[in-house]
């Protein structure tokens, strides 16, 4: 019985170690449709619950775009995001309005990326995960799967 406890810890730690953040199997279709058209349907673990809450409350001016959704989808998406949100202490402050790319964890994970890469037209924006992380749509953010050769370690 005792061996189960370390095993459980290992199982919890593994996804973080491997940078695997696939969308849960019960992800509502509304999340993929509404949040995955203009940008990647970001893994909910990338922001804390309070940050998702304020993001969902401000969709009519979502970084300059009107991304408002109908009430039913809005409730469904907000509940999903908050249920699967990341650990606030590990993510750090994401600013206001919250930006995944400003969270301390994101910044730390990308601190070796030179500025010229962010300006590359193929990347265009730090929000464009798929530009470098070729398995981003499947939740794969491993450093081994970076597309641009110069960025590969």
């Amino acid at each position: 019985m005792k061996f189960l406890i370390p095993l459980a810890f290992l199982a919890m730690a593994l996804p973080a170690l491997a940078d695997r953040m696939p969308l849960p199997a019960n992800t509502p279709a509304s999340f993929k449709a509404e949040c995955g058209s203009c940008h990647l349907a970001y893994p909910p673990a990338l922001l804390a619950a309070k940050d998702w809450k304020s993001t969902m409350a401000g969709l009519s001016d979502h970084f300059g775009s009107d991304a408002a959704v109908d009430a039913k989808s809005g409730q469904e998406i907000a509940a999903f995001l908050e249920r699967n949100a990341g650990n606030a202490a590990k993510l750090g402050n994401a600013g206001s309005p919250p930006r995944i790319t400003l969270s301390a964890r994101f910044v730390r994970k990308h601190d070796e990326v030179p500025a010229k890469f962010w300006r590359d037209p193929r990347i265009k924006s730090a929000a464009n995960c798929e530009a470098c992380h070729r398995d981003a749509t499947k939740g794969g953010f491993s450093e081994r799967d970076i597309i641009i050769p110069e960025l590969r370690h």
């Binding site: 940008h39 775009s65 009107d66 193929r122 265009k124 924006s125 929000a127 798929e130 530009a131």
Partner: protein, 134 residues
């Protein structure tokens, strides 16, 4: 009375189903004809509209800012960089097959790029262009 009930049921079920670009175009043509008797959609006008520079939004002054000059090609979101599948039906058979989705994106994009809602006539012309461009 019964006919009306049957007819409305039919209309409701039609609205929920996948449709063809021709049917979606017809929805807008019918709507436009209420304001402008005898209206017919024109792909040429839709093409001009697609390339018209509105300049309301610095990052997306024109449809082509994200969808490129050639709607048969894949586009790229001007802000996020995400790849956008072609708008033209000839290159992407999924386009203009879901009336609710079409209406949602006209709603968002017209407001964002043009600064107002598009008229039914503009939508009809746009769908005509995207259906016919080869």
């Amino acid at each position: 009375m019964k006919t009306i009930a049957t007819l409305s049921l039919l209309l409701i079920s039609m609205a929920a189903q996948a449709e063809t670009p021709q049917q979606i175009r017809q929805i807008y043509v019918t709507e436009a004809a209420i304001q402008q008797a005898g209206f017919t959609a024109a792909a040429k006008r839709g093409e001009a509209f697609y390339h018209q520079r509105f300049g309301i939004n610095d990052k997306m002054p024109v449809c082509t800012s994200c969808h490129t000059d050639d709607p048969l090609k894949s586009g790229q979101h001007a802000v996020t960089g995400k790849a956008i599948k072609p708008l033209a039906v000839a290159a992407n058979g999924e386009r203009f097959s879901d009336p609710a989705k079409v209406e949602k994106w006209f709603g968002r994009n017209c407001k964002e790029v043009i600064g107002r809602a598009c008229t039914p006539a503009e939508k009809a012309d746009f769908v005509a262009y995207m259906s016919e461009v080869r």
